[in-house]
Amino acid sequence: MQDAAVNLGIWGVPLAILGGALRVSAPFLFVSLGECITEKSGRVNLGLEGTLVMGAMAGYGASYWSGSPWVGVAAAGAVGGLFGALHGWLCGRPRVNDIAVGIALMLFGIGLAFFLGKPLIQPTAPRLPAIPFGNFSDIPQVRSALQVNALFLCGILLAPCLRWALARTRWGLILRTVGESAEAARAMGYDVNRVRFWATAAGGVLAGIGGSFLSLFYPGSWNEGLSSGQGLMAVALVIFARWDPVRCLYASLLFGGATALGPALQSVGITSGYYLFNAAPYALTLLIMVLSSSAHRTSVAQPAELIAAR
């Protein structure tokens, strides 16, 4: 961005938002796809914020020690899976509330990541490569905006794959059954707790990978202010996406754009309301939740077991 920036005037804002969306939406995407799997099984994991931060820390650490960012991604997924499994196991026990466990794991994950990540703040770890889609253009801002990370592309492919798998595979059918009616699933001989355990663990893997994106690509370093609620917003985003993976993708891009608003305005010199613009994604999430909920009815798309648990 430093080299000979062309003055795009006000057009710089949408371009920066687009570029920001492509960079920032990956964590939203992975966490929301993960939560989508978990919620389809009839359970809520609010702890993905903690999983995201743990994933970011583990990914950065593994990338630093091994020298390969992809090892970092794998480590982040593994750690995320462990957190998900812990949530799944705890909630499988009688009288344990999944919302409360989610909060506890959120606080635990953040605390643990800060503790273990203390020595990682200084060193620099190898970062994930980006694919330059903007080479056709001579404008540096366009080139910079279209630097798309390979991991994000995987996420974009994952969304339709997940939708297909939910509709057309055995495990998709079983997962939906457990989420729609635990009683029916039990009557058919499925182990509801086991299905939910694996669904939560899988959700944790994806959230962990989303975290590695934060530390290994954008912003691309490990520090304690790395995530501020992306994990939680992604959970809210699943409601907005009506539990459909492909709509999760669109919603992630929207949220990514909203998150990029503050930096985009800053890049064209509007700095006065910086903190307020940073609040835009939270306000957007809240607004969307208000608009897409109702006191008197529940969405038909919502897995029925989520309603029963309320």
Partner: protein, 371 residues
Amino acid sequence: MTAGAPVAADLDRSPSRHPLLAPRALAERALGGLEALLPTLGAILVSLALFGAFVGAAGHSPLAVYAEMYRGAFGTWFSVQNSLLRAAPLMLTGLCTALPARLGLIVIGGEGALVMGGLAAAAAAIPLQGSPPALVIAGMMLASMLVGALWVGAAGALRVLRGVNETISSLLLAYIGIALFNHLVEGPLRDPASLNKPSTLPIGDANLLPNLPGLDVHWGLAFGVIACIAAHVAMEHSVFGFAARMVGGNPRAARLSGLHVARLVILTCALGGAAAGLAGMVEVAAIHGKANASLLAGYGYAGILVAFLAGHNALAILPVAVLLGGIGASGGLLQRTFGLPDAAVNVLQGILFVVLLGSQTYRGRLRLRRS
């Protein structure tokens, strides 16, 4: 196992119990209370063991760490007072989660109410400068409680009026509150004289919250204790608490009894928010003397754990807040003595929270009485 069986019929099969003589019934209640307490005590012990293993793996002797923690928290009169200083806001933010929890809501946005309450207190002090300190303090308390009530009451209102999940919305509101706080402290409300650390105008030394007589602890502790006792009386002995417990136990039954569920939920959330807002005022008026980033110390989040550990019982919040205040107070000492990161305290709190919730599965299953 429940497939197809109507609930009522299942209950009908449960054996009916025989009447007991009154003294025995009393003894049963005492045992019942102990049974309710056991999982929590067990969870604390298990957490301490797990955290011991954790610091052991980090290369420190668990016993030495615990000894140091005790010294830092309750070992000297100075450290006890320091722990009490930290317990004061925890009592108030604990109420912010505990009160709505009695109505079945899980509110985790106390940090937002605290920050906004603190800011409101600092802002309220500006036009009141020159008035008698008692008036300034009363004004700050009122402003902080109003803003805190608004912040958490909004989450309650969204829940009952729009069906928005209060757990997520309260945390989002906290993030929004923090962003707004930063915006105002670094912008419109900034004291031009605060250079390195943007802050609001000082409230003035005369208006600082005084210490309790004979102690090195400010009046905020008394606010916390009074608030918890008042909350206990309200919940257990008042008409309001009775209605609130009905809503928390079974909203359908509450509606059938003609209660205005939405109003009760919003009011209770607002009360919890007022408590957390007051915590912000206490921090501003007794510790910092102005509102700045130091307010973001995580008391709001720690209050969630306080409420859960106390089983959302207002009286139980008192000892739990002191305990967690002590753990928090010992963090600095751990850092200095062992070089442990300050997040060590957060790890312990996280372990405690997770283990506590896991122990819920044993609630009501420990049988002390012989059948």
